[in-house]
């Protein structure tokens, strides 16, 4: 297929997706349209973690920390001063946060930047470590964020959390940011820079011997991943409309959920990350029946909470053992690939 054809196809596909999203908003009820928004948010989380864990060969378990940072940052910037006055009961919110309110777009950008700064600060000491140690250090970092969220009353409102966030996050914000994320991560991954990252993933020692400054490259990938995690946090917070540090919403469980998405989709594939995010959103809605009352042959069984997580984690371990490549392996969507899939179908 010619390059021009591909560009034209892409230019047709994007408005088509936009049209579908528009129709979904018009035709579906609010429950489903909220899920479609959530898929966009999950997509950003999964793609940004893929950049770090799938492409640049470091293994971060701190994604939820950056998402939480993003959520708090943008919530504090979009809530009105009066609301903040009412919410902060334990201690007053510090100046100047207590008196500013800015548009959602800028709050989201700042959320990304704050998360990126923290990614830099945590990456700087811990990226000198390899493999597992880095994983643990980032996990520790996200725990530290959670603990500070619970205790730093004058900024986070401690255990009370933040409530009644304006419901800014709609399908357009979520999928728009997803498009930006995918465009950035894709062009990075398939540039010379991304090639270097993938080389590091394949063999760190050899990459270094070929003149690549491993630390610098991984740090930049980690910071960009942190930036988009922060963006997704802003969107997620305004989608949930509450940030409650006592639940596991922004804890290690969130990181684990994103891991499920990217492993399901194929660790190292950006396309796979988006598919994984969508599948996860659908599955976790669909599996809700496991936790509600079930009518089995006339017997009513009480719903058992925790069943969904049990299914997900069981599925996750099974995928890792029997099907570690996931849906996409490390390959990406391409028009050529799509055509060849159809050709194969047609021949049969």
């Amino acid at each position: 297929m010619k390059k021009q054809t591909k560009i034209i196809l892409t230019l047709i596909a994007l408005p088509l997706i936009a049209l579908l999203l528009f129709l979904s908003q018009e035709l579906l009820n609010s429950y489903y349209s909220r899920i479609i928004t959530l898929i966009g948010i999950y997509g950003i989380m999964a793609v940004s973690l893929t950049l770090v864990n799938g492409i640049s060969g470091v293994f971060s378990l701190g994604h939820a920390g950056f998402i939480a940072l993003g959520a708090y940052t943008s919530a504090l910037l979009t809530l009105s001063p009066e609301q903040k006055e009412m919410t902060f009961l334990i201690e007053k919110l510090v100046w100047p946060l207590n008196s500013i309110q800015i548009p959602f777009f800028w709050a989201t950008i700042i959320a990304g930047l704050v998360a990126a700064v923290f990614a830099f600060l945590i990456g700087w000491p811990s990226l000198r470590l390899t493999g597992d140690y880095f994983a643990i250090a980032t996990l520790g970092f996200s725990e530290i964020i959670r603990i500070f969220a619970l205790n730093l009353n004058s900024i986070t409102n401690g255990a009370l959390g933040l409530k009644a966030l304006p419901d800014h996050t709609n399908v357009w914000w979520a999928w728009g940011w997803l498009l930006v994320t995918v465009a950035c991560v894709l062009s990075l991954a398939y540039s010379s820079f991304g090639r270097a990252l993938r080389a590091i993933r394949e063999d760190r020692v050899a990459a270094q011997a070929m003149g690549i400054n491993v630390f610098k490259h991984q740090l930049m990938a980690f910071v960009l991943g942190g930036f988009f995690a922060g963006i997704s946090g802003s969107l997620y917070g305004h989608w949930l409309s509450t940030i409650d540090p006592r639940t596991n919403t922004f804890g290690i469980l969130l990181t684990f959920n994103i891991l499920i998405m990217i492993v399901l989709g194929g660790l190292g594939s950006i396309t796979g990350a988006i598919i994984g995010g969508a599948l996860f959103a659908f599955l976790s809605e669909w599996l809700r029946f496991l936790e509600g009352p079930i009518n089995l042959l006339g017997f009513k069984i009480m719903g058992i909470s925790g069943m969904r997580m049990l299914v997900f984690s069981g599925l996750f371990v099974i995928i890792m053992i029997f099907w570690p490549r996931g849906l996409m392996g490390r390959s990406e969507f391409s028009w050529d690939g799509l055509v060849s899939v159809f050709k194969r179908r047609y021949k049969r």
């Binding site: 811990s126 250090a137 603990i147 069943m307 984690s313």
Partner: protein
């Protein structure tokens, strides 16, 4: 801090640290052999507590039998986890094993939620009257309600002393096991060089399984002592102690059993001392371990007693 409080805190920290040490040993032994952070270790710790609870409340067993059975079940669980989840991917990239371990950890947690429900239970009332007083001692805050031993005018909670004694016995047993039995010798050999050992006709998988079982049993002992000290039992109770024990293992030098013990003790003592000196910072005590981790890893990743690892080229 006056000398009396200091000594009190020291003993408290020592006993907390010996719990970290008991858990850390499992991490360090598995890491020494497989280069795998067994994320599920903290959850085996949690399961052991539930087993004990189950044996006392439902099976109506006397507490000492319940404790022994629970520890045995924990060992069996550790062994099973290795067989089912880790053995099939022994030769996969290390990162796959790490990811799988995280999955296993969440699987055990959600299993506990489904089977035992996510509502925290009390561990306090399950032990018979004869021990009740001792057990009521619970966490540091509740010391004044429990039985204490008074030495030279200084009060020590009984549970701290019992923890120290049990941990010491467990460590002596461990030392005997590693250095005086055949299986222990095989474990040491496997952790030095897994390939050569398997060429020598040692059944490496069995040795690895034994290592998981042994580490899990120690975590089980730690779990029960932990639950007596902080008598709230719930499915996520293993996460923070597990992480801290891992920090202790890294601090002491991962792969080294004496290092794990040393790291655990130091972590326990500094943690209790920190809260003693700055009571306002008590909310941050769980963050403290992670700060230590990041600092240790940046300054001396091989830990106190570990050997520095040179990447072979």
């Amino acid at each position: 801090m006056d000398p009396k409080t200091l000594l009190q805190n020291f003993v408290n920290g020592l006993s907390l640290g010996s719990l970290y040490a008991l858990i850390a040993i499992g991490y360090t032994m598995v890491y020494g052999i497989l280069r795998l952070i067994n994320f599920a270790h903290g959850d085996i710790f949690m399961m052991a507590v539930y087993f004990a609870l189950f044996f006392v409340t439902l099976a109506q067993l006397p507490w000492y039998l319940a404790a022994i059975l629970a520890i045995a079940c924990a060992a069996l669980l550790g062994f099973t986890v290795d067989r089912i989840a880790y053995k099939p991917i022994r030769n996969a990239p290390r990162i796959s094993a790490l990811i799988t371990a995280i999955g296993v950890s969440f699987f055990l947690e959600s299993l506990a939620v489904v089977v035992f429900s996510g509502i925290p239970r009390s561990f306090r009332t399950i032990f018979p009257q004869s021990l009740n007083e001792m057990i009521i001692i619970g966490g540091e805050m509740e010391v004044k309600y429990g039985r204490e031993v008074i030495v030279g005018g200084i009060r020590f909670p009984v549970i701290s002393l019992i923890t120290l004694i049990v941990a010491a016995i467990a460590l002596v047993f461990l030392w005997w096991f590693i250095f005086r039995t055949k299986v222990g010798m095989a474990m040491r050999a496997v952790s030095l060089d897994i390939q050569t050992t398997s060429l020598m006709g040692v059944n490496v998988d069995r040795v690895i399984g034994m290592t998981f079982a042994l580490g899990s049993a120690l975590a089980g002992i730690g779990g029960i002592l932990w639950a007596i000290r902080y008598p709230q039992v719930w499915p996520y109770m293993g996460f923070i102690p597990g992480m801290k024990a891992f920090v202790a293992a890294v601090f002491g030098g991962i792969g080294s059993v004496p290092g794990a013990v040393l790291g655990g003790l130091i972590l326990g003592i500094t943690e209790v001392m920190m809260v003693g000196i700055m009571p306002a910072a008590a909310g941050y005590r769980d963050a403290f371990a992670f700060f230590i981790l990041i600092i240790v890893l940046s300054i001396k990743p091989s830990g106190l007693l570990g050997r520095p690892e040179i990447v072979k080229v």
